[in-house]
Symmetry: C2
Amino acid sequence: MDTVQVIADPRRREILRLVWDAERPASEIADHFDITFGAVSQHLGVLRRAGLVAVRRDGTRRFYRADRAALRPYTSMLRQLWAEQLDRLAELAEAEEQESR
Amino acid sequence: MDTVQVIADPRRREILRLVWDAERPASEIADHFDITFGAVSQHLGVLRRAGLVAVRRDGTRRFYRADRAALRPYTSMLRQLWAEQLDRLAELAEAEEQESR
DNA sequence: CGGCAACTTTAGCGGACACTAAAGCTTGTC
DNA sequence: GACAAGCTTTAGTGTCCGCTAAAGTTGCCG
């Protein structure tokens, strides 16, 4: 799969954000979503095959982390999109606050 | 449609490249592809609705150009992808040259 | 007005892909 | 070895989206 297509998926971008600053086991990543563990594992597989994340095995667990070097050309875009997402969350919070009055 | 999804499509990126430095009528854009005029028009519609291109009407023709301001956060990624495409073309040319020996 | 040129839009189809459920695979523990 | 934990892979399903073909729209010119 093409790198752009891989990054185009919102959940995969969220995964990248989660493993951007620290490595995390698959289970911890899966906890952040309300889809099945298997589905998350598939996303991790896509990211792995695209070379965008690295894996470290420790016992039965697998720790993932973003491969920042590989993601270098997309970094600014990713940060932009993550920021937009935060903005949207803020807007939602405001809207709810409006509603509660 | 989300900006990222819009840009994720290779043909739409190619269209953006075509109208990056100069405005072009839809017909001229369509000539660059081997899909139907209608399909190209649909891509233009997606780009228009996403606010990534601007249109100027002149008689029966419509001139498109990239809205660089709107594309600002994605510029570096676009340039990167356009460069990769050129690299792939170069590789193909080399491969063919190999074959012809 | 008739007719053509330049586009856009609609209906319908096929392929890609994200998801669930379930089976399979390693690794550590008793 | 048996079992469980942690994870991946497979089979099957629904949805989205890019394409074609065809119909619709708008503007120009005799």
